[in-house]
Symmetry: C2
């Protein structure tokens, strides 16, 4: 019997408001613990703490000032085809190891940690003035550090999911997915198990951390400042596996 | 000020167990209302009722007996390349208006209601013996009927999301998405609005019903029988728009 079969039938998604604007060097874990205490939710064992990557990136100083960037000729040419600012394209290329697709207005890349997404996660929204925000260098390591620090501050064993908002092939609109994880298995794997009629379930391998990121987005929103949500009551397998398995290898991806 | 900015910071995802096995012609809405009452959750105004498509399909008699299917020559040839049963491929083709991609073991199609997914949603797991289960003919109409019937039985204004489990390009693993909706807008649209720094948010258009389906999956699981979940406390725009906008048109899909 697997843990999920006996799992809770009630999960709470709790948005944590009231975090101050994050600056480079800030102890975001402490900010989250304090804000969770003020909101009355607190932190409990086995909570999954979902954190929008932006506040992690800001704390890690992953900001580039557009006016400090000198675009290469390649970046300038690509920027013209895309209709984007050359400085932004230069920064995206520095964060990428491959260009997967591009078209006017859209640049899909594989970033340095292997994520396939628009603009290698480089973003200018919700950032002050002239700055461009990058993803954390190693989002799994950031998730791990966040988890350890929350453990230190509270004595609670939590998991951390760092989320980002992504567009998707085939389906319209954006959803939040996990770009870094620590403490929770990325998948809930049913392969080889049997359904209610004794038939083997052949392919179902649920990307539970992506579903958790999506669930958390429902209370986080983009406009009001709620960059953290607690997913409480979800029973999951603990794991030290990172998020790299969440990117489908190119040779198994029928759409690449 | 949009409804989401003032929205609740606490959402509950409540799995509803105890539904009997569904047979063709069953009043699934009544089964759900009864099971929700027994579980203590009940049904409340503005609940989003997420229903696994399988129980809707079963109630609508969308079952085909494999031994009654005579595969065409084309289906037999394709089945050989795919390594699938010819009867199953025949049924998939009847449900499809186009083959999008195929490879050994995997057949991606556009089904008759425009969904792009593996096998046009045709599935043999969690189905008795020799039967093959199809998606509802018109999942939005099924969602609408479910919503109306729940309203009739309870006097509550709910929304309905019919969910299915799908694989994804680029990302490993399956997540649940919405294949039919009624009463809730498919997207939460931020385009043209401004972020916390006064910069316009250009592209964010959250596929909220897909996120809701994913959130619900966290309590539904595949093995234990929990085909229904209530998402409670989520504030959303009511809408009579269906789910068709959730499929990216081919000319805007860089991966087709």
């Amino acid at each position: 019997m697997d843990i999920h079969d006996t799992g809770s039938l009630r999960i709470e998604i709790i948005g944590i408001p009231g975090l101050p604007e994050v600056e480079p060097g800030d102890d975001v874990a402490r900010m989250i613990v304090d804000a969770a205490a003020r909101s009355g939710a607190g932190i409990m064992d086995r909570d999954v703490i979902v954190v929008a990557h932006k506040i992690i990136s800001k704390a890690e100083g992953r900001l580039v000032r557009a006016s400090d960037v000198v675009p290469s000729e390649f970046a300038r040419n690509l920027a013209r085809s895309l209709g984007k600012a050359p400085e932004e394209v230069e920064v995206i290329l520095r964060e990428s190891r491959a260009i997967v697709r591009y078209r006017r207005g859209i640049l899909i890349t594989e970033n340095r940690s292997g994520l396939v997404m628009a603009n290698s996660g480089v973003d200018r929204s919700n950032v002050r003035g002239d700055y461009i925000l990058l993803l954390p260098v190693d989002p799994d390591a950031s998730a791990r550090a966040m988890r350890d620090r929350i453990g230190e501050l509270t004595g609670k064993e939590v998991s951390v999911v760092i989320s980002d908002t992504m567009g998707r092939p085939i389906r319209e609109g954006h959803v939040d997915v996990a770009v870094g994880i620590s403490g929770i298995a990325p998948f809930r794997d049913y392969r080889g198990r049997v359904d209610g009629f004794g038939r083997e379930l052949r392919v179902t391998n649920i990307a539970q951390v992506d579903e958790i990121a999506s669930a958390a987005e429902l209370v986080m929103g983009k406009v009001r400042r709620v960059p953290v949500a607690i997913v409480r009551g979800y029973e999951y397998e603990r794991s030290e596996e990172g998020s790299s398995g969440l990117v489908l290898p190119e040779d198994r991806d029928m759409f690449r």
